[in-house]
Point group: C2
Chain length 180, copies 2
DNA sequence: CTTGGAAAGTCAACAAGGCTGACGTAAAAT
DNA sequence: ATTTTACGTCAGCCTTGTTGACTTTCCAAG
């Protein structure tokens, strides 16, 4: 079975932190923390008649202005049809601008309008405030561990995706793609 | 505004870990890690024609056998109509048993049947395997930090909820409520 | 040059799982 | 006796995921 709970350490280290009970606590902590993590943006979004899907799109468009729909698709991990609905609403409401590619006219390059930037700021201010408070309370060392474990939880694919975004090229894409 | 990024430390500590950039990375790490975190259970659930909602119910019923519908409601933070749909399916499929309370006959106490326990094991084995690998890769100190930050992210309410479950009384509820 | 496939995006329709509102019933509490 | 609590249920709505069936555009091979 899978319950090799309190195994003695082969390398001499205490492996008590690998107990099934510890793992279960970690799983539940992820569940509750993620709920809190999305709570503030959710409230703001509801006031604007948007949902989490809109938030995610706005977040990454802000992070990499000029990225294409398919690039965004790869980041979000949803179908293009699903994303399209969200994107259409944002474009119609004037929060996002979709410019046709100069070199490849099939591609749409996405940008936040000033209104879009305003909402992005509102959302990320709230979310960062919570993270900042948590980071401050836990301290730098805990934060380092936090990040380490989160990265270890990711798949190889996702970790690469994450790493590629982390650097935040910002603006480089638009230049690379030859946009205005 | 909210961008007090690289502020100098009032207490003398380096506050570089509170940079907007650092916070943004943390936010994205949460997003990607949570996706990976739910990926394995999601695949198993799809094969059984269930969704995440069923998983959550099964998880907490396993954690606290004999808990009532309203207790589960409080843990999950959804409406009873939403939970009821999920619960009805699980009861009909013979994964969950709902016993009428002995002392309070209004209450339904929930238990996993052997079939329910089997699915729970399948799901949690997969999820724990991922967490175990991540914990092992990151090491005990990182795990401690991980847990600290997650708890700090939670609201006061959620933290209390989490703490109350963490102890895992398991079986104590059924006795307290006078169940068979 | 044309033609056929791949890539980008759109429209339509469906399902899961949230939500609100209204109602019913039994049991408990006052 | 009345009110409140715990639970179930019906009806209907919304968001956000899905698949399937198209265009339009680009590129490469014949």
């Amino acid at each position: 079975m899978a319950g090799n709970s309190t195994a003695a350490a082969p390398g001499g280290e205490s492996l008590l932190f690998l107990t099934d009970e510890q793992l279960r606590n970690g799983i539940e902590a992820m569940f509750f923390a993620y709920r809190a993590f999305t709570a503030d943006p959710d409230m703001i979004l509801a006031a604007h008649d948007y949902g989490r899907a809109h938030h995610r799109a706005i977040h990454f468009i802000n992070r990499q202005p000029g990225l294409t729909v398919s690039a965004l698709l790869a980041l979000l991990g949803v179908t293009k049809q699903s994303l399209n609905r969200v994107l259409r609403a944002l474009v119609e409401d004037g929060l996002v601008e979709a410019r046709v590619g100069r070199q490849d006219k099939r591609a749409r390059h996405l940008y936040l309008t000033p209104a879009g930037q305003a909402l992005e700021r509102e959302l990320s201010d709230a979310q960062r405030a919570r993270m900042r408070a948590a980071y401050r309370a836990a301290g730098p060392q805990a934060v380092a561990g936090f990040r380490q474990v989160l990265e270890a939880i990711m798949d190889t694919d996702l970790r690469q995706t994450y790493q590629s975004v982390k650097g935040a090229p910002a603006r480089s894409l638009s230049e690379r793609e030859g946009q205005a």
